[in-house]
């Protein structure tokens, strides 16, 4: 029954990105993942009476940079507010965040959609706030609190409910990850909690000429792109089922929170006291507002670069790569730059792409490093590709050579010689061998000349014989051409 309903999925995202500053947002404590518990804490972190927070310039500028990349308007005047908070991981009893005058608003992000052009998703606002510490739930009647993360700068980004498929939600998350990594403002590692996504999900159902909106749920505890995508798909089905069962529709302003259970792949309703979320914002008197002027904004925006999706699209057009390949190469900025440098030395783009994506990135993964940390120079890779293009080594020989270049650090032509991967392309020399094979294999020769069903197979057999006789070192293309000429 549910499958017959006509519906649209409606999703907006609330995103937190941890900025990779050295120190915290309001004090000089180090931001450090995995430091021993409560070792990166000072009176400001603890909210001791009389302490004064002072804004980290880098955190503010990085926020403005991301907001600019997301096409947001940058507020000329911005201030911070206190939001009531009653968990022990923020001992001040409030979170310092931004309420009515966020540092940026009204932007958009373009996300790649498979088999279609990019989709534009509106950004409501992006503002700068502090993170809370960590509550650890051990067994027994107590919880443990570690305040190291308290005061870490977080950029909160809120999108309009413009996403209409689980795949779109995932695409936005991945695109944002690429953007903040390109800009160098966050490691954006989801497992480490550098990026947290909370989708707000409901459905617009059309039934018998009327429209119904299902109650909104917010999903928390999503630690991977996969979990994000699956939780949205799960909620879609759950809300459809719930609508068919109860017919309940959205009550304005209310929403429920559900937690993602990764083990069971379901969302679970989280218990919540009524009116628990009355945040009672009020202006933070201890922090001074920030005023942005044109010169400062220009200085910050000079750090903008070509964004990943623009680069991907350009790679498709300029180098005739598939969108998939272009996406792999533009996933990080250093890899994309290395690719372009290699192509700049005159190497054929498609071959460079294959070599880097099929061999280079595999080697980098095995070593748990980036492609550019393999010790390869773009010049050496370009020379290798040129050898393949000229037929001096085969494509598979090229792959082997790249692996050896990484392990030995030697030049491709030296290795090709050492590993006997040089192909014979000299047609005069190959012609002698071809003639010999043709004499020996008169049956196959007859089959090719008869142009019957067996002709193609026989020609392949002859090519194989030549390759075998040369110890695999003949250039198969040159041999094929010779065979075709002689058997025509």
């Amino acid at each position: 029954m549910t499958s017959q309903l006509d519906y649209t999925l409606v999703v907006g995202l609330e995103i937190h990105v941890q900025l990779s500053t050295r120190s915290k947002l309001f004090c000089g404590c180090a931001v450090e993942f995995g430091a021993s518990a409560n070792s990166r804490v000072c009176p400001v972190c603890l909210g001791m009476p009389g302490v004064l927070p002072v804004m980290n310039r880098q955190a503010y500028e990085d926020s403005v940079l991301v907001a600019s990349a997301l096409n947001c308007k940058i507020a000329p005047f911005t201030k911070w507010d206190r939001k009531s908070y009653y968990y022990p991981d923020l001992p001040k009893n409030f979170q310092t965040t931004q309420y009515d005058l966020p540092l940026s608003y009204d932007g958009f992000i373009e996300i790649p959609i498979e088999n279609a052009g990019p989709k534009r998703v509106r950004i409501t606002r992006a503002h700068l706030e502090e993170d809370a510490g960590k509550n650890l739930h051990s067994s027994g009647p107590f919880s443990q609190v570690d305040l190291n993360r308290t005061g870490t700068p977080l950029l909160e980004i809120v999108t309009e409910p413009d996403l209409n498929a689980p795949a779109e939600v995932k695409a936005l998350a991945m695109e944002l990850q690429r953007i903040v990594r390109y800009l160098g403002v966050s490691e954006a590692d989801m497992q480490k909690g550098h990026m947290r996504f909370e989708p707000n999900i409901n459905l617009l159902i059309r039934k018998e000429g009327r429209e119904y909106k299902t109650p909104i749920t917010e999903v928390k505890n999503l630690n991977s792109f996969r979990a994000l995508e699956r939780s949205v798909a799960f909620e879609t089905q759950r809300q459809l089922d719930a609508f068919c069962e109860t017919g309940k529709t959205m009550v304005s302003g209310s929403k429920t929170t559900r937690g993602w259970d990764d083990g069971r792949q379901v969302t679970v309703l989280q218990r919540e006291k009524e009116e628990a979320h009355d945040y009672r914002y009020f202006p933070e008197p201890d922090l001074l507002p920030v005023e942005m002027d044109a010169a400062w904004l220009k200085r910050i925006q000079s750090r903008l670069c070509e964004l990943p999706l623009q680069k991907q699209t350009r790679f498709v057009h300029a180098y005739r790569l598939s969108p998939y390949d272009a996406g792999v190469l533009s996933a990080d900025r250093a890899t994309a730059d290395f690719f372009e440098k290699t192509v700049g030395h005159g190497a054929e783009p498609k071959r460079v792409c294959n070599l880097l994506t099929q061999v280079g990135l595999k080697l980098a993964n095995e070593r748990d490093c980036g492609l550019v940390e393999l010790g390869l120079t773009s010049r050496a890779v370009a020379d290798l590709v040129l050898m393949v293009t000229r037929g001096e080594v085969s494509a598979s020989g090229g792959n082997t050579l790249l692996e050896h270049m990484v392990t030995s650090g030697k030049r491709p032509e030296v290795l090709a010689d050492e590993l006997q991967l040089l192909q014979k392309s000299d047609s005069a020399e190959l012609e002698i061998i071809v003639d010999k094979i043709l004499q020996e294999q008169d049956k196959a020769v007859a089959e090719v000349r008869a142009r019957g069903k067996k002709a193609k197979k026989a020609q392949g057999f002859l090519l194989g014989q030549v390759m075998q006789r040369t110890g695999g070192q003949a250039n198969p293309q040159v041999v094929s051409e010779l065979l075709a000429k002689k058997l025509s």
Partner: protein, 102 residues
Amino acid sequence: MEQKITESQVEKVAQLSRLALTPAEITEFTGQLESILEYVAKLNELETDHVEPLAHCLPITNCLREDEIRESMGAEKTLANAPQRDGPFFRVPKILDDHSGP
């Protein structure tokens, strides 16, 4: 400001602030809060139609610090005032219905 503060409003605010008040305290604080609000309401007598909204009481902006690390206090000092500790952690009553985090 004509509307007076009610006991149910005080009850709600107390609940939001995780304060357990007795009925006698609620009555007492309702009276106190009311007189505070009455006092502040005097501000409404001012003519503010042509006054720009003020986001901060100080006429200063852009007080920023460079992103430099300063030494923290260390876990021992951090935990010195903790009512209860559990190794290097603060120990608190078990958190039920945990919606912590921004």
